[in-house]
Amino acid sequence: MGTLLIRGGRVVDPSQGIDRVDDVLVRDGLVVAIGHADTQPIGKADETIDATGLIVTPGLIDMHVHLREPGREEDETIETGTRAALAGGFTSVACIPNTEPPIDTQSTVEFIHQKAARADTCNVFVVGCVSRNREGKELADIGQLVEAGAVAFSDDGAPVYDAELMRRAFEYCRMFDKPILAHEEVLELSRGGVMHEGLVSLVMGLTGMPAAAEEVMIGRDVALAEVTGGRLHVMHVSTAGGVALIRAAKARGAHVTAEACPHHFTLTDESLRGFDSNYKMSPPLRTAADVEGIIAGIVDGTLDCIATDHAPHSREKKMLELDRAPFGILGLETAVGLAVTRLVATGRIGWPRLVEAMSTLPARILGVNRGTLRPGAVADITLIDPNLSWQVDVKSFLSKSVNSPFDRWTLKGRAVATIVGGRVKYRLDS
């Protein structure tokens, strides 16, 4: 495979506390060293990338991606979804098991791994179901799924509704040290809802999903995680109240982590005014105060990471009445731009925190040997142009779907090269 030298970029690697302009040398798919190339005893590199003016980070990891395969290949496939990931700067994704069939057996996990290997794009880590067939009735064969390579467990798309089953899942997962990724929603409170319950939903005559529907369930799962010592990871936190619950749980020492999605720190329920289903997702877009709460949670680390909840839906599925259109939007190809525009360019967080939220901590939560540029680590590396101003164009997306509300938005910051295992898998043509 030879040697690759990434020269003169600002290397940001929170796993080692590094933030300096330096060179990164890669040999045979592994990081060899970070250090001035001229002083390294490495000889001449086979390939050199001039990273002057770029941010060089451990490869980004999106721990919340719906790849849709198997079962809904009209929306996305493992190949198209991971290509979109590369274009967004992600070297790894964790795929959520609400497929058809759901990922609740060793053979489905193997199917995903094989498809991902064939696609030869980015790493795909598999999240297995908490419950068999995602029915919320009995535990899936979690131990066998772990053996097959599942890194975490989730019934996402829906909450694990039975509190006793959730308790048992926390307890059982302890022996594998795997987290449960929880979709938090009290269904009775959100039934029939299409957007956040507030003044906007009231005026529009749309059924709302109150913040309490999410917060009540976060409260339940925090309590269950505390009583069992299990690991809870709260997915797509959307309310300021949810952030406060998680902050308090962490202060008590509970094993709780959490993620925020770019749309939840960017858009509010006001966006629904045009009745466009590309603003319909679950949990829904909330208020400006919630957006501020989410950003504050990212700033102080209450929300450990940024994940996209990439949820492709084919055009005909989204082109329906608002109550019939499915929940969810694309995320992979706009995440870096939104995070830089909304969080870094505004001075709310620095680059080290952003890299921590998009690489270091997702790797740690999932327990995968990624998210670092330590010597000997797999050379998954993302190069980001922090100043590149670009216009989102869904027609140029590598995803199979186009359901993004950010079409035509001008964003700052974009991945310009994505390197997986030492090989350049994506380069933005300038």
Binding site: R191, G192, G198, L199, L202, V203, M204, G205, L206, T207, T266, L267, T268, E270, S271, R273, G274, F275, D276, Y279, A288, V291, E316, M319, L320, E321, L322, D323, R324, T341, R342, P405, F406, W409
Partner: protein, 334 residues
């Protein structure tokens, strides 16, 4: 700019929209124009009885995805009174039950050369979506609990006909505000014309959040009756409720039905409206519904006038301003 022909002369032009989707986004002047146009048509048709031919050759489609008798009949009659052809299209028995999307259904109708679509649907925003996909005029005849602009206009028209200007009038909207498109259209129209609006009903049907719009919210009908110049008694929409928002119909009627007793404590010239169909004994007792202050039957006649006006303004000779459909608010960074 196409100049109205001689026959068109008596009726106002000057409407720059292609559609009528809601009252929320109209200006006070636009609402006044709609009301004035309706008044001219009521007069010209001798109280909505005589037939004109100002829309001869135009075809209006009633595209109803939700059951309706009186609104559809009212639109049909209004269109025929102006000489237009009317086609009824109901969801059941159409290709919609074969899985066709509503946008495709509407596009098919459009391709048959129609001039306007009157649409009713159980989902808020459906007329707005159609307006984005169609080149013909779209008139909202009720989109779920969102808006029912012609109902709001005809209620306001009926009040204005009796008492003139609305500025300073206190109007109580009583009942199932949560599920009422009529309430929302009334609210916007009334506020824009300078009336004071009080929303009244149990907290499960009248959210405190309405106060954020500067509207008064009350849960005590007895307290507001003496202050009101107009009461609009809205139907309990049992069919839209997931769960019952009050313990029993009997208790609801006890607290919120407009009865003879409550009427005694009202201003002498109180006007009472109720958009049909009414549940007698629930929102209003029979003796009140039929009392001299009741505008319930005026509302029905005025519905024709308002719909004639709306059809004229959306399908008649166009004032060329180049304006198209109300575009959805774009997403924005907060």
């Amino acid at each position: 700019m196409p100049h109205p022909t001689a026959e068109h002369e008596p009726f106002p032009a000057g409407w720059s929209h292609r559609h009528l989707l809601d009252l929320e986004r109209l200006s006070p002047d636009e609402i006044r124009l709609l009301l004035d146009t309706a008044a001219r048509f009521k007069e010209a048709t001798d109280g909505c009885r005589k037939k004109l031919s100002v829309l001869a050759g135009r075809t209006i489609v009633n595209l109803f995805f939700e059951n309706s008798t009186r609104t559809r009949t009212s639109f049909s009659l209004a269109a025929r009174r102006l000489g237009a052809d009317v086609v009824d299209f109901t969801a059941s028995g159409s290709s919609l039950s074969k899985g066709e999307s509503f946008i495709d259904t509407a596009k098919n109708l459009e391709a048959m050369g129609i001039d306007a679509v009157v649409v009713r649907h159980s989902t808020p925003g459906t007329p707005h979506l159609l307006a984005q996909h169609l080149d013909v005029g779209v008139i909202n005849a009720g989109d779920g609990p969102h808006e029912h602009p012609t109902q709001g206009l005809l209620d306001i028209f009926s009040i204005r006909e009796r008492r003139g200007d609305l500025a300073g009038a206190t109007v109580g909207l009583v009942g199932d505000i949560a599920h009422s498109r009529t309430a929302r259209s009334n609210l916007w129209g009334l506020v824009k014309l300078g009336a004071k609006v009080i929303l009244c009903g149990p907290p499960t049907l009248v959210s405190h959040r309405w106060r954020e719009l500067g509207v008064e919210v009350s849960h005590d009908l007895d307290a507001i009756v003496p202050r009101c110049d107009v009461l609009n008694l809205l139907r309990i929409q049992f069919e839209r409720q997931n769960t019952r928002p009050f313990p029993s119909v009997r208790e609801y009627a006890h607290l919120y039905a407009m009865t003879k007793d409550r009427l005694k404590r009202a201003k002498k010239d109180l006007l009472i409206l109720a958009p049909g169909p009414i549940n007698r004994g629930v929102e209003v007792t029979a003796d009140v519904a039929d009392c001299p202050q009741s505008l319930i039957l005026d509302q029905v006649t005025n519905g024709l006038a308002v719909r004639m006006g709306v059809l004229w303004l959306t399908c008649g000779p166009r004032v060329a301003t180049g304006e198209t459909a109300a575009r959805p608010a774009a997403g924005r960074i907060v």
